[in-house]
């Protein structure tokens, strides 16, 4: 094109005093941003190809590289940002929907950052987790409403099937297809070692990973890819995916180019065919329909597995959750508007859904008000970034959290948000063989285990500081939270007091 409307967002800055022309940057960039000029024995780079994934920066042995934001600018305009202008150029050129990856990056409030935790002083002792036992184990599933006894007065076991987790964190749904085999293996092995669960996403379960079944949530989504009886029975729980935080109301589309080899086999669709997940489940148009699917899945697994229903956090989330809690589901998973994705229309990702903190608080309150909170456990996801977010979520009423983005970052993701190009330089969101092998699961799973163990230590420190020795005892304990800089309405929805109150 003769006119290049868009100036590159990033500049690759090379310190030529430090560059030893080892060419690792060139060899490791799937976007082919770097080039070796043999006639002058020098490296050069094309900024327009850089997605700012830091692969070259991380591998450069002499720290000769850095990526900076271009200071090239449009005329200052508080209304028309450079981003808005560039998006128009893009669409005027392509005529297409803008695509994005990973979670909503826009400047909406992050309520977790406006909530502070309590600690004990003087009147109630704090607990030192290094010296005293501290419990982070949780069980997810429907809790019995009452104690039942048989004619001899013995306790009847009326417990529904449960999931046992060593800590209240699980790896959220990321399909084999959207992420690589090695990424899946890392998640599966880490979950098994940690005593938590990972989630297959809707791409089915690769036959190599059935051995991690006890630590697997198998997902059933609107495309029903890779769903069969053995699949359903292989996991510890079954998740019905109604929605996803990154793209509420939208289905999925894995392009045919990615449906190759094992992915085609695992998804049970022909090679090269697009994997299209419809926006709705075509057999679910009401809570009654959902109930039918919940019980179909329970029937198929002989009532041995808890069923999770996952929804995106949207405006009427409390009412929807109330319906789900009456549908026979054992666990509700709510995904906030910052949840990640391998590809979503930009406008949907950035403008649809609500913050998970508000959704969680209102769902927990609604279910308690209606006396059905014990029917279900609540799992929340959608940008849980640290152990502090976990603790705040639990205090707001969550039984456990899902982490997706945080887990991928542990595996090397640098949030360049280019998953949809399929050229992930870190071997995560790609199916290109030479890129997939960049993620060695022996290293990857260990990094996930490290991250979770670190969080577990921090969770113990935080709840110990509050004088609590079990994460279950913190659940829904909103008195341990205070808001800062929040208005009356926000505090009311979150069900917390303002700092100083």
């Amino acid at each position: 094109m003769a006119i290049e409307y868009i100036y590159p967002d990033y500049e690759i800055v090379r310190d030529y005093n430090r560059c030893i022309t080892c060419r690792v940057c060139e060899r490791q960039c799937a976007n082919e941003a770097h080039e070796y000029l043999s006639d002058v024995n020098k490296m050069t780079a094309d900024n327009a190809k850089c997605v700012n994934c830091h692969r070259c920066v991380s591998l450069c042995p002499t720290r000769a590289l850095k990526i900076v934001k271009s200071d090239h600018t449009f005329k200052e305009n508080a209304n028309w940002s450079g981003k808005s202008i560039k998006e128009i150029y893009k669409q005027a050129g392509s005529g297409g929907v803008l695509l994005s990856s990973m979670g909503n990056p826009e400047n909406y409030p992050v309520y977790f950052d406006k909530i502070l935790l309590n600690a004990s002083q003087v009147t109630n002792p704090s607990i030192d987790p290094l010296r005293e036992p501290m419990e982070t184990r949780v069980y997810l599933g429907a809790k019995p409403g009452r104690i039942e006894r048989d004619e001899n007065g013995r306790l009847k076991n009326n417990l529904k099937p449960h999931i046992k987790l060593s800590m209240p964190v699980m790896f959220s749904a990321m399909s084999y297809g959207s992420i690589s085999y090695n990424a899946h293996e890392s998640l599966a092995r880490a979950a098994a070692e940690l005593g938590i669960l990972y989630n297959t996403g809707e791409g089915g379960l690769h036959e190599d990973f059935y051995k991690y079944g006890k630590h697997t949530i198998v997902q059933v989504a609107s495309g029903r890819f890779g769903v069969h009886k053995t699949y359903l029975n292989s996991g510890a729980a079954i998740e019905i995916k109604m929605g996803q935080g990154a793209k509420p109301g939208i289905g999925g589309h894995l392009p045919g180019t990615k449906i190759v080899g094992d992915i085609s086999k695992t998804r049970m669709i022909p090679e090269g065919s697009d994997a299209i997940s419809p926006a709705p489940h075509h057999d679910i148009y009401s809570i009654e329909d959902l109930r039918q699917l919940v019980y179909s899945l329970k029937e198929a697994t002989a009532y041995t597995k808890p069923v999770i229903v996952k929804i995106a956090a949207v405006h009427n989330v409390a009412a929807i959750a109330s319906g789900i809690a009456r549908s026979g589901a054992d666990i509700i998973a709510i995904d906030g508007f910052r949840g990640g994705t391998g590809a979503a229309p930009t406008r949907i990702r950035d403008h649809v859904g609500i913050p998970i903190e508000l959704a969680l608080a209102s769902v927990d309150k609604r279910l308690r008000d209606e006396g059905i909170r014990n029917n279900v456990s609540i799992v929340v996801g959608g940008s849980i970034r640290s152990s502090a977010d976990v603790v705040k979520a639990v205090a707001l009423g969550a039984d456990a959290v899902y982490i997706g983005t945080a887990a991928l970052i542990a595996l090397g993701c640098h949030l360049c948000r280019s998953c949809h190009t399929g050229k992930c330089n870190w071997g995560i969101a790609t199916q290109r063989e030479d890129l997939v092998k960049r993620l060695n699961p022996n290293i990857g799973y260990k990094r996930l285990v490290n991250l979770m163990n670190a969080w577990k230590h921090e969770i113990k420190e935080m709840i110990g500081g509050m004088g609590i020795n079990s994460i279950e005892a913190l659940k829904g304990n909103r008195l341990m939270l205070r808001g800062v800089g929040l208005n009356e309405k926000e505090l009311e929805i979150l069900g917390i007091k303002h700092a100083g109150e």
Binding site: N17, R18, C19, I20, C22, R23, V24, R27, Q28, N41, L59, P61, T62, A64, E433, D434, K437, R438, N440, N442, I443
Partner: protein, 144 residues
């Protein structure tokens, strides 16, 4: 005896091992200063073809042909590591001709060079192993 082993499955062909190897044999603290504007002569080399790549360095063979062939006794094997006495080497290159792995190479000062598991330059893990970003080169004990 710990040796350098290569997991071809995880080799990315990034060639970083070669640069870390070349750096290890210099006395510089800074890699940029050590390797700027020079053509490196590493003791480990990546071999690659048709999308397959792996690093090759001295296997420290049980019956080393290089040691057998060395006419001056410059190459010796001690504690499982084949090392070179550069003062004794006369540069006849018999070892280079006899090594089936191509793991011995000429150096700039006339003597030959080869991987000595970094025992002369560094302590602990060989630098190629430390520098491999994907666990494709490992330093470990394996059953003989």
């Amino acid at each position: 005896m710990k040796r350098v082993y290569v997991n071809e499955k995880w080799c990315l062909g990034c060639h970083l091992c070669e640069y870390y190897c070349a750096f290890a044999s210099t006395n510089e603290k800074d890699m940029a200063r050590a390797l700027k504007d020079i053509r490196i002569k590493p003791r480990i080399r990546i071999e690659e073809k048709d999308g397959i790549s792996f690093a090759v360095s001295c296997r420290h063979c049980d019956e080393p042909l290089c040691v057998k062939g060395c006419i001056t006794g410059a190459l010796t094997k001690k504690d499982g590591v084949i090392t070179i006495n550069r003062d004794k080497c006369i540069g006849c290159y018999t070892c280079i001709l006899s090594c089936p792995y191509g793991a011995v190479s000429p150096s700039d000062d006339g003597a030959v060079q080869k991987c000595e598991l970094c025992i002369k330059t560094a302590r602990g893990t060989p630098k190629c192993v430390e520098g491999c970003p994907n666990g494709a080169i490992v330093f470990e004990e394996r059953g003989e």
